[in-house]
């Protein structure tokens, strides 16, 4: 904090005082906007979750009745369980594939740039665009199953999208397809930032390559892992287009997620109160992930 004892600060002039307030003035509009549009709306949603609102908001309060109904709703539990399965698998698989591809790509590969672009591009597309193709690929009669069977492997089966117990995993496949290249790119940039001499030293000690990566390189990449987990977790919680485009929540409601549950109830089923209650629980989940992140982010900031 060296700048706070600059000579200017000792004798404040009018313009000096303005200068001192400028940063706050600059931040003020954004802060106000966020305060209203994020926190105000959250409060608004909370208030709605305490009402019996149906098609449009009404302010007829029913206490925590909507939450009680939510807890008794089978579909909500399916959606929540799905989010846990989906979120955990999505984050884990993306990390593994991303790290693996990054390490492989880091071996002085020819055409690295082209490969990297191919891995990365899915992040640029929304599922509104790629949903139709994914539906084709996963459909047992049109997609991969039909293709492989057409090659002569008659007994090949890939019909997860039809199976209520497996449908959620098709979402994982498509989501991993979209985001793992991005994670790869994060890891790759992280790898490039590591000092070669550390690796050289380990090599001289006679450590095997996998061992070097596991013991020496990975620890250096911890901040990357951390950022990647945050980005992936936030994608998982917000996943909406994905479900709508691929499974529509089906078969039945076997692949429903909280985001689609909330949308369906608030907008298609005239249950804004119930939808708002589910939104508040989603926000609670977000907070549970975000608070540790913010804590470490701000703490490391102080030390940094």
């Amino acid at each position: 904090m060296t700048h706070s004892i600059s000579p200017k600060a000792r004798r404040p002039t009018a313009s000096g005082r303005l200068q001192a307030w400028l940063p706050r003035l600059v931040l003020a509009p954004s802060a106000a906007v966020i305060l209203f549009f994020v926190y105000g709306f959250m409060l608004w949603t909370f208030v709605l979750s305490l009402t019996s609102s149906r098609m449009l908001p009404s302010y007829d309060f029913v206490g925590f009745g909507q939450y009680a109904r939510l807890m008794a709703n089978d579909r909500w539990w399916v959606a929540s369980t799905n989010l846990m399965i989906f979120g955990a698998l999505f984050v884990a698989v993306c990390l593994v594939i991303g790290a693996l591809l990054a390490i492989l790509l880091d071996q002085k590969i020819r055409q690295e740039g082209a490969l990297r672009t191919v891995y990365l591009y899915p992040m640029a597309l929304s599922f509104i665009v790629t949903g139709v193709v994914w539906k084709w690929l996963l459909n047992p009669q049109l997609g991969i199953q039909a293709m492989v069977q057409g090659w002569g492997f008659e007994s090949f089966r890939f019909d997860w999208i039809v199976d209520p117990n497996m449908a959620i995993y098709t979402l994982v496949i498509a989501a991993v397809w979209q985001a793992s290249g991005f994670v790869m790119a994060l890891f790759l940039a992280g790898l490039r930032g590591i000092d070669d001499s550390i690796i050289k030293a380990a090599q001289l000690d006679g450590a095997s390559l996998p061992r070097i990566y596991w013991r020496v390189v990975m620890p250096c990449l911890r901040p990357v892992v951390f950022s990647a987990v945050m980005i992936l977790a936030h994608i998982a919680i917000k996943s909406f287009d994905l479900v709508v485009a691929l499974t529509g929540g089906g078969p039945g409601y076997a692949s429903d997620l909280p985001a689609t549950f909330m949308y369906t109830h608030a907008f298609n089923r005239a249950q804004i109160g119930l939808g708002s209650a589910s939104a508040m629980l989603m926000l609670g989940g977000v907070l549970a992930i975000l608070i540790p992140y913010l804590y470490s982010e701000l703490r490391s900031r102080r030390h940094g």
Partner: protein, 292 residues
Amino acid sequence: MADAIRRQTVGARLLRGALYAVLILAALFYALPLLIMLITSIKPLSEITAGSLLSLPQNPTLAPWTKAWGEACTGMRCEGVGGYFWNSFAIVIPAVLISTAAGALNGYALTKWRFKGAEIVFALMLFGCFIPFQVVLLPMAQTLGWLGLSSSRAGLVLVHVVFGIAFTTLFFRNFYVGIPDELVSAAKLDGAGFFRIFWRILLPVSAPIIVVSIIWQFTQIWNDFLFGVAFSGHDTQPVTVALNNLVNTSTGVTEYNVNMAAAMIAALPTLVVYVLAGKYFVRGLTAGSVKG
């Protein structure tokens, strides 16, 4: 070079071959959906119903593309997605510029002019990144109504700016943290003011993070469907909404080739941006996010 020569044993060559095989297989996995879209979009309809997903077009044609652009029906209007394509640009460009500019100033004020409570303000802003958009749909609709901006482009721009600021602020804040404070304090000693320091010292080195912010925002806003469908008027709908209408407008036989061509058209701007600037995107993003 010594390394390379030492590696040329049989085992090492096999390993190298396996390495390339894995990388190329992975590339196929990622490329497959786009390839299918592309192949399908230039096939005549008869070949699609007859052949398999991956069979190459026998008589490639651009007719589906011209139809998707200018003739295909989205609801009752049969003018293709072309017009909506420009609608999207009219929304995306101002929204990206405004949110990036705001994010840059915010990040600068938060890191180089630390004041009491700056970190709280930042923490509060960060939460804006994580709010599921379905949650804000109805309150936003009412607010837009109060502001007199419902069903207008300006309204959509506002929505995207509001929910983009959190991200852009995060990017710039993380990037500026890594810029040595000494540069700024020296300039302060010389009597340079807030904007002057930003303009002369921070902005010239901000290129990587500006690229990140622009690409991120461009992709997010271009791909948005939810806000686009809920807050646009009948003549301001973005291309994703038109695409959805087109895909769901079918006469008897679904024209998969036209649907795919329309999807490709809708995807093209973001694809081009990623292919051309993807390298800078990743580089800039890591510059910000790896710093703890």
